[in-house]
């Protein structure tokens, strides 16, 4: 019954939303104030798409029936990832992990390579893994790299992945492992909830809408995400992913290198002496070989053969150069020998030309080494991925949120995922605003990286519903730009009397109010009585973070700039927190001042009454939203005894 109501609300919200937004575009744009009218209607369209995607998610949001009891004898590795968390905290998690009932092996994956962590692991009787020599001087890929490293030195069929601060309950495997009876299931994600959240959740740590209706809705479309912790994975699926990805990356590297080869060769030509016959001849030969490689690839020849043939041709060029050198050398030796015939110190050395050519043409000694850029290019056109520590990277490394990227690729390969809605681990949330903001920024940045690097809408292996489920999450992270418009529009009206909407009040409310009311009803019914107000407040109030996430991800993906990425701290950061929400504070001042101006204009008879009323109401709503930041900035950490929390 509730489910039918939900679907009716979804349809009603979308219909009423289209009715409103279409009317806004076609009949009520105030072209005289296009500079605010156009941004506003775009923001409204953004929100309509957002709510439509939410509706699609809710369409299939259902609680799964309990999975079968897992058969005995499955092998499971429990991984606890840590980088710099306190030893005590990791040890607590490791102890709980060790005591999980279903038989398994527990491992601490220590990216900090700390001796006392290793000692603690030994004391607890759990395994300890840190990075090996092969990672030195190569990209570490943070948590994804840490997990990839551990995957190569363990062998369980299934993996349970836990963040250092997620303490598992003893029945976590008994209750969630059963889903893998379906051989197509690659991932089982369970919720992340936090045990250290104060009354009222001042920092908005809990995500009851996400770890609930949203994940269940995505699950309904076979698109439940991997969220990095409290999740079980099938090793075989990850390995398949690693292999497919390896082939794809090699192919891409080779194609990119071949495409850029002409530029590299002509640059090398410019820096060499045009009269140097030998170098120019060699460059001609290389250019020809690259050309051949390119056209054979275009004709669908396997990449392995093309690169092998290319390397062979390059070796031949190198050989020819060396034999030419040695031929000259032999003639010089002969001439010297003749000179010496009279003198007393004859040179009796003979060159074994064939074997000498072979050794001198080897890659380290080859004369082609003189053309360093060309040499570097040729190294890229090979299949050993010498730039990475390990050729197989099952967990995606394209984003700082490797989890989402990984599950998207799993879906692309046709695997199934499951969201299991039962609390099976209890975590620790950040306890101060600064740490919380960094964490949100990181999630948003990672999500944007995935969107920019592997846009789900064009990933062929996934169904359209799956693509939209991923896109929906990414789309919602663009809300920062819409928020700016929503905050600006009332200020513009109250201060200058400029209305972006060209319509009379009745027409506007007739279209806007039904949409708004049904939309709020949809939220209320979807969340099944759990309060989502905190989440709604934060999604608007943190607009500077969302905007920064988008701009820094664009700079990172397209211009190779660092993200400024920081690992989330599990311990409180001291110091003043107000500076972190400076922008929102200034905005609140603007909103208040504009209200005063708006009311003054009304009193003086300049302002328009209905418009002023609507916009003042709008400002009040905005201020209530922003007010969430006041207790957040004053919050001084979680105390299990609430009476002692200072206000």
């Amino acid at each position: 019954m509730g489910f039918a109501l939900l679907r009716v609300l979804v349809v009603a919200t979308i219909l009423l939303g289209v009715n409103y937004v279409a009317w806004r575009w076609l009949f009520s744009l105030n072209w005289y104030a296009w500079w605010i009218a156009i941004p506003l209607v775009i923001a409204e369209t953004y929100s309509l798409i957002d709510v439509a995607l939410f509706g699609m998610t809710m369409w299939r949001a259902r609680t799964r029936p309990r999975p079968p009891v897992p058969e005995a004898g499955l092998t499971v590795d429990v991984f606890i990832t840590t980088y710099n968390e306190p030893i005590e905290l990791v040890a607590d998690t490791a102890r709980a992990a060790r005591d999980i009932r279903y038989p398994h092996s527990t491992w601490i994956l220590d990216d900090g390579a700390r001796d006392d962590m290793r000692a603690a692991a030994a004391e607890l009787g759990v395994g300890y893994i840190s990075r090996g020599e092969e990672w030195k001087g190569r990209p570490l890929h943070a948590k994804a790299g840490n997990l990839n490293n551990a995957l190569l030195s363990t062998e369980g069929e299934f993996l349970l992945i836990l963040d250092a601060d997620q303490v598992p309950l003893p029945h976590i495997l008994d209750n969630a492992l059963g889903y893998f009876a379906d051989p197509k299931v690659a991932l089982v994600q369970t919720p992340q909830e936090f045990g250290n959240v104060a009354t009222g959740d001042p920092l908005g740590s809990q995500a009851p809408l996400f770890y609930g209706p949203i994940q269940q809705g995505k699950d309904g479309w076979n698109a439940a995400f991997f969220c990095g912790s409290n999740a079980l994975l099938r090793r075989e699926a990850l390995m398949q992913l690693g292999l497919t990805q390896y082939v794809r990356e090699v192919e891409r590297a080779v194609l990119v290198a071949l495409r850029g080869a002409d530029r590299v060769i002509s640059r090398a030509r410019r820096t060499t002496d045009p009269n140097d016959v030998m170098i120019n001849a060699a460059l001609d030969e290389i250019a020809l070989a690259v050309d051949t490689a390119r056209s054979s690839l275009k004709q669908g020849e396997p990449i392995a053969r093309v690169t092998y043939d290319l390397q062979q041709q390059i070796d031949a060029v190198s050989h020819a150069m060396v034999s030419f050198d040695l031929h000259l050398l032999e003639m010089d030796l002969a001439a010297i020998r003749e000179l010496d015939a009279g003198a007393g110190d004859p040179i009796d050395v003979l060159l074994d030309v064939d074997s000498t050519v072979d050794t001198l043409a080897m890659r380290q000694l080859s004369p082609l080494g003189a053309l360093e850029s060309v040499q570097a290019l040729l190294r890229t056109i090979d299949v050993d991925r010498s730039d990475e520590a390990v050729p197989l990277m099952p967990l995606a490394t394209i984003s700082v949120t490797e989890d989402m990227a990984t599950s998207m690729r799993l879906h692309g390969l046709g695997w199934k995922t499951v969201y299991h809605h039962e609390l099976l681990a209890i975590g620790l949330a950040p306890e101060d605003l600064g740490t919380m903001l960094k964490q949100r920024l990181r999630w948003a940045q990672g999500t944007m990286q995935v969107l920019l690097r592997e846009n789900p809408l064009v990933q062929r292996g996934m169904s359209w519903a799956q693509r939209l489920m991923y896109f929906s999450t990414m789309w919602s992270y663009l809300s920062g730009f819409a928020a700016v418009v929503y905050f600006t529009a009332p200020i513009v009206f109250l201060c200058f009397g400029v209305l972006p909407v060209d319509s009379n009040a009745a027409e506007f409310f007739l279209r806007f109010l039904p949409f708004m009311v049904v939309n709020q009803l949809l939220f209320a019914v979807s969340s099944r009585g759990v309060s989502t107000w905190r989440g709604q407040q934060y999604s608007l109030a943190l607009f500077p973070i969302w905007i920064r996430a988008v701009t820094s991800a664009v700079a990172n993906v397209y211009f190779n700039r660092p993200l400024g990425f920081v690992v989330t701290s599990k311990t409180r950061q001291e110091g003043n927190q107000w500076g972190l929400v400076r922008v929102q504070f200034v905005l609140a001042c603007f909103l208040i001042v504009s209200t005063v101006i708006g009311v003054t204009r009304l009193v003086l008879g300049v302002g328009e009454p209905i418009g002023t009323f609507v916009n003042v109401a709008w400002v009040v709503f905005d201020l209530v939203v922003l007010s969430v930041l006041i207790p957040a900035a004053r919050f001084r950490g979680f105390d299990s005894n609430p009476e002692e929390v200072s206000a």
């Binding site: 060499t272 002496d273 140097d276 030998m278 170098i279 150069m321 060396v322 050198d325 040695l326 000259l328 050398l329 010089d332 030796l333 001439a335 010297i336 000179l339 010496d340 040179i347 050395v349 003979l350 060159l351 074994d352 000498t356 050794t359 001198l360 000694l365 080859s366 004369p367 082609l368 080494g369 003189a370 053309l371």
Partner: protein, 110 residues
């Protein structure tokens, strides 16, 4: 590759090389030897202390320098080769043609 020439007197000169002795720089070494010989320094000690890499072209230039010096009635000797240069000399058996001396300054005093 850069080089400097130091006159030790008595027709002896030290030719100090710095950089990679490869396909690109081989021609410069040939020219350097020819012009040094032309100036009357027919006994040339090539100081290889600053050469970290040599390929077949570089080796060819050394032997060609040896020929030039011998044709002028002099000699070319090498000093202080790096491990990589020694390896190339060994691989080609040329260590017997170009005996490596410890120091360029004393290559002709022994």
């Amino acid at each position: 590759m850069d080089y400097t020439v130091k006159d030790l007197g008595g027709g002896v000169a030290v030719l100090s090389l710095d950089g990679r002795l490869n396909m690109v720089s081989a021609a410069r070494l040939r020219e350097a030897v020819t012009s040094t010989v032309a100036k009357g320094h027919v006994r040339i000690a090539v100081d290889l202390a600053g050469v970290d890499f040599m390929d077949s072209s570089g080796l060819g230039a050394l032997i060609s320098g040896l020929k030039t010096a011998r044709q002028a009635g002099g000699d070319l000797r090498i000093a202080a080769p790096s491990e990589q240069v020694k390896l190339v000399l060994q691989l080609t058996n040329m260590e017997r043609v170009l005996l490596a001396h410890e120091r360029a300054e004393t290559a002709f005093s022994g």
